[in-house]
């Protein structure tokens, strides 16, 4: 699976400037990767995905000076921090929070994402996000971790294996079973995405 270049080919320059403390570069790091991190945390069932995203980037920006690597490695590092923060949140709560009612949550999500120039598009996206979240909620944890790290984190099979401490073969099996589970759920519900 090809990995997306979210920094428009300027990752090295942005990273160097961010490590030198340039506010514009630090903001660029946040605005580029925060959406995927928030999406990951939301689909993983985080109670406060946006607050948690800020926590993740506080850690990322504070530790930026020690990072060395390319964009793929940087994204992997950011998502590893995000995953740890997610586990910390779950430990604090003691259990995974109950899934919010679809309509209310969708309205809240829509308000959060509302852009003045494209309200209708934001609502459409939020409804899709809640439906996707409902599907992910029914996956086994390992299957959900693999699919979300691959789709939102742009992780390779090997990167997922490293992040989750599993073999590449196990990751492939989880990915395959996760997709099959989603397919069965979609067929049973008969609800188009």
């Amino acid at each position: 699976m090809g990995q997306r270049d979210r920094f428009g080919g300027q990752f090295d320059a942005v990273l160097m400037a961010a490590q030198d403390g340039a506010p514009w570069a630090l903001e660029r790091v946040f605005t580029t990767l925060a959406p995927v991190v928030t999406g990951y945390l939301r689909l993983q069932g985080s109670a406060e995905p946006e607050d948690l995203t800020s926590e993740v980037f506080l850690a990322v920006l504070r530790n930026l000076g020690g990072f060395q690597g390319d964009e793929s490695g940087f994204r992997s590092w950011v998502f590893t921090i995000a995953h740890r923060r997610l586990l910390d949140e779950r430990r604090r709560q003691g259990r995974r929070p109950p899934h919010e009612p679809l309509v209310g949550a969708a309205e809240d999500f829509a308000l959060e994402l509302t852009a003045p120039d494209d309200v209708e598009r934001s609502v459409d996206r939020s409804l899709g996000a809640e439906r996707v979240r409902g599907l992910c909620d029914q996956l086994v944890t390992g299957q959900r971790d693999v699919l979300l790290l691959r789709l939102l984190g742009d992780f390779s099979i090997e990167q997922v294996a490293t992040a989750l401490g599993k073999s590449p073969g196990a990751v492939k099996a989880l990915q395959r079973r996760g997709l099959l589970a989603i397919g069965r759920l979609l067929e049973r519900e008969g609800v188009p995405l």
Binding site: M1, T31, G39, G65, G66, L179
Partner: protein, 263 residues
């Protein structure tokens, strides 16, 4: 009997889904029409990454505006690249207020006590530190005003200057009462040539000496130490069955030794 076709669409999905197909779904490539919903699902998930960024928390905004604070640069606190001592600093940072207060007070007290002991503080400061430390710890400071007597060196012993016996130097027969340790010195240190053998009965082992121990004589001392008793019919007073821990170790039927001839 069932066939694969009896499992319906779920079984067909299983047959269609191999590693290559799952990769194609995640990439968003065209796949078998029966798997198109999965491609849509993958696109929906990926599309969440194109949403606007969430609002940054005030702390994050402040960090960005300040250029990442002093954490950026060559010595970031990333665990893999942490400078020595960083972990300790983070642990201290994670302590509660009361713990930090206590730790800070202890560190300050330790530092001040060290400085006072080294004598680098002014006299008044040293007195204050000494009083504070002695009040809360068993540490005792030596009073610098009494450590060395004011009359140090004013008077020289007669043994040292030779006025007592005409010979300079200390001969060891007597020790000045002003010498260190005088309070713990025995009143009668003993006399040269006194070996203490005449007081052997006062030793801790004296209680184990038999009352009717035969007197030592030159002939007996020449015989073996485990000589048999004079009467061969009498049981041994000590032996393996008697439980004695000391005495002769000869078995009951031990052959007579040369001492029989002597007796």
């Amino acid at each position: 009997m069932t066939t694969s076709g009896d499992h319906g669409p779920e079984m067909s999905l299983t047959w269609l889904m191999d590693d290559e197909t799952s990769e194609a779904i995640l990439r968003g490539d065209e796949v078998d029409p029966r798997l198109e919903r999965l491609t849509l699902f993958a696109n929906q998930v990926r599309g969440l990454g194109d949403a606007p960024p969430p609002p940054a928390s005030p702390a994050l905004q402040e960090l960005i505006a300040s250029g990442g604070g002093d954490a950026c640069g060559a010595l970031g606190s990333n665990r893999m690249f942490a400078a020595p001592g960083t972990t300790t600093t983070r642990r201290i940072a994670s302590l509660g207020f009361a713990a930090k207060l206590g730790l800070g007070t202890a560190a300050a007290a330790l530092g001040m006590a060290g400085a006072a002991a080294a004598g680098v503080l002014p006299d008044q400061a040293t007195d204050a530190v000494r009083g504070a430390v002695e009040a809360v710890t068993p540490v005792e400071f030596t009073d610098p005003t009494t450590e060395h007597p004011t009359n140090f060196g004013d008077r020289v012993s007669s043994d040292a200057n030779g006025t007592g016996d005409g010979e300079r130097g200390v001969d060891g027969d007597s020790i000045s009462d002003e010498a260190p340790g005088a309070a713990h010195r025995p009143a009668d240190p003993g006399q040269p040539g006194d070996t203490g053998l005449d007081r052997a009965g006062e030793t801790p082992g004296a209680m184990h000496v038999p009352d009717d121990a035969p007197a030592l004589d030159a002939n007996a001392q020449d015989g073996p130490p485990d000589a048999a008793p004079a009467d061969p019919q009498s049981p041994p007073t000590t032996g393996p069955d008697s439980g004695g821990a000391s005495g002769t170790h000869a078995p009951p039927d031990a052959p007579s030794g040369p001492s029989d001839a002597a007796g």
